[in-house]
């Protein structure tokens, strides 16, 4: 027996290592199937790996950033002064616009609260830099340089100004792992902008995001925009996801299609991302000052409007706000000061308003004039038929 072990010890060690890892895999898959996350041991291994890999990664990243910073800030400063002045102007303009938009947002939220409608807004984001990848093409996971100490938490949405990127998968002290939307284990609720068809976004085996299990629909066409639906409790509603690239039949289910997307964010070339850390209103002091300024301005405008209304009350007008529409001074025919409206003629002729001939002989005018009848003009009746016509 001993000689057998000695003779085949290399093979036995190999088998032991393989069996141990296969058992470990089986346990992890079982946990995943029951909806549980990583076990304590697996999480510990991930923590150690991250603890070993992240510091050198950060050092490499910082070194590269430092060299780039030195170049950009000390050697490459052409036209910076002009750009700075332009940017300052843009900031001033945007601050004013932002104050107005914040006002609208607040008002919208108040109205939605009244309607008991829950809508998530992006109010606070943390900018993070991508410092590393998973190292394999089969896994679309990357590491960012912000972690728990920066307010990052699990399942927070990660976006860029172009579109959504993924969600935070694991958080460590100073770093976090992000699962991109094109990973096979990712998931996000999305909606097609034009057709309003909803679906679940996942990554496929080629690393492309696709909406799965969609009932075949002729209206789905390449180029259609896809947005987040907001029902997954991770991504706020209405963020761009991408555009439809192609529609392919689901190989496993008849009548269903998979909609392959071209992502809006450049998932292969990410440098900086935004982590949405709050979807509740948290205005900064500066924003609150802007809102206060806006409200003061609004108050002054309201005061001005009130004064003008007071002045209007003191002056005679054609419309009395206290009277119903049928008793308005404008419709009162008893008041001689106001001309009554001409009624529609029974027999319209060339003297009827809007039917008058451009020029008429004076004799006819005299004959048809109301003065010839010796009666005052009566605007409430239709004008008599002109005599000249009968002659």
């Amino acid at each position: 027996m001993e000689s057998f072990v000695v003779r085949y010890r290399n093979l036995l060690v190999l088998l032991a290592l393989l069996v141990a890892q296969i058992l470990g895999l089986a346990m992890q898959v079982r946990r995943a199937n029951t909806g549980q996350g990583d076990g304590q041991e697996v999480r510990l291994i991930r923590l150690w790996a991250n603890g070993i890999v992240s510091p050198p990664e950060k050092a490499l990243h910082n070194t590269g950033s430092g060299i780039s910073w030195i170049w950009n800030n000390y050697f490459y400063l052409r036209h910076v002064r002009e750009q700075n002045a332009d940017l300052q102007k843009t900031i001033d303009r945007l601050r004013l616009e932002q104050a107005a938009l914040l006002e609208d947002a607040k008002q919208g939220q108040r109205l939605q609260a009244l309607l008991n409608f829950q809508q998530k807004y992006i109010y606070k984001t943390v900018t993070a830099e991508v410092i590393g990848t998973s190292g394999t093409e089969q896994s679309r996971v990357f590491t960012i340089n912000k972690g728990k100490k920066d307010g990052i938490d699990r399942d927070m949405a990660v976006i860029t100004p172009d579109g959504i990127v993924g969600k935070v998968r694991d958080v460590f002290g100073h770093t976090a792992q992000v699962l991109a939307i094109n990973d096979q284990s990712s998931g996000a609720g999305v909606i097609m902008e034009s057709t309003r068809i909803r679906g679940v976004l996942r990554g496929n085996a080629q690393g492309r995001p696709e909406i799965v299990d969609v009932i075949s629909d002729q209206r789905i066409r390449p180029g259609d925009s896809v947005l987040t639906a907001g029902g997954d409790q991770i991504f706020p509603r209405g963020l761009p996801v991408g555009v439809v690239d192609k529609v392919v039949n689901d190989p496993e289910r008849d009548g269903f299609v998979d909609v392959v997307l071209k992502p809006a964010a450049h998932l292969d070339q990410l440098d900086e991302v935004l982590v949405i850390t709050a979807t509740e209103p948290q205005f900064s002091q500066e924003q609150q000052q802007d809102i206060a300024t806006s409200e003061t301005l609004k108050g002054a405008e309201a005061e001005k409007q009130k004064t003008s209304e007071g002045m209007a009350e003191k002056l005679p007008g054609l419309i009395d706000p206290k009277l119903p529409p049928d008793q308005q001074p404008l419709n009162d025919t008893s008041n001689p000061g106001f001309p009554s409206r001409p009624t529609a003629p029974l027999h319209p002729d060339r003297f009827t308003p809007a039917n008058t001939a451009p020029a008429a002989p004076p004799a006819q005018d005299l004959q048809s004039s109301p003065k010839t009848t010796g009666k005052p003009p009566d605007h409430s009746r239709p004008a008599p038929a002109p005599q000249g016509d009968k002659q």
């Binding site: 890892q21 992890q28 790996a49």
Partner: protein
């Protein structure tokens, strides 16, 4: 021409390195494997932990050490992905074992042999990876063999440059 037994060849040609090399090179391989694809994007067709596993397997000629080193590096790689831990671990355990086993049988000082060994073992590693993912875990995976071929070529080129550099750190009796 004298014919050496496997044990005799091992006794004569086992390479030894400073502890720092054993500690730093695998860590550096994992770090660079995670960092370089961010800069090189789709051109990052290499697997540095596999190259290091092959190098130490061929140099040390100890299947147990090769298996353990490959297993640890693979598990570290898995820990950085969102996938279950052990997929790369199994693949690189096998690669480490095979590298060390073959290292006993052939002359690994020859650059051509090293090149071919790295190329073949890269493909073996990829095949094992896909086998585990598809048949043991039942996950769908894009089996792009052209990409794996490019990766094997990339690994061989890196091995051609890296192995002589690491050979310089060898402890000579």
């Amino acid at each position: 021409m004298s014919v050496l037994s496997a044990d005799a060849r091992r006794d004569y040609e086992i390479h030894r390195y400073p502890v720092l090399i054993y500690a730093l090179v695998p860590v550096l391989a994992v770090v660079l494997q995670a960092w370089l694809p961010r800069l090189l994007h789709r051109y990052a067709a290499f697997d540095l932990p596999l190259v290091v596993t092959v190098f130490f397997g061929l140099s040390r000629r100890n299947p147990i050490q090769g298996s353990i080193l490959g297993g640890i590096l693979g598990i570290f790689e898995d820990a950085l992905t969102g996938h279950p831990i052990g997929i790369n671990g199994i693949a690189k355990t096998l690669v480490g074992y095979l590298a060390a086993t073959v290292g006993i049988l052939v002359n690994v000082e020859n650059h051509a042999v090293r090149l071919i060994m790295t190329f073949v073992l890269s493909l073996v590693g990829s095949a094992t990876y896909f086998f585990v993912v598809r048949f043991l875990l039942g996950m769908s995976v894009d089996t792009n063999w052209m990409a794996e071929l490019y990766k094997a070529i990339g690994n061989s080129v890196i091995a051609l440059v890296l192995f002589p550099i690491l050979d310089r750190a060898k402890i000579r009796d």
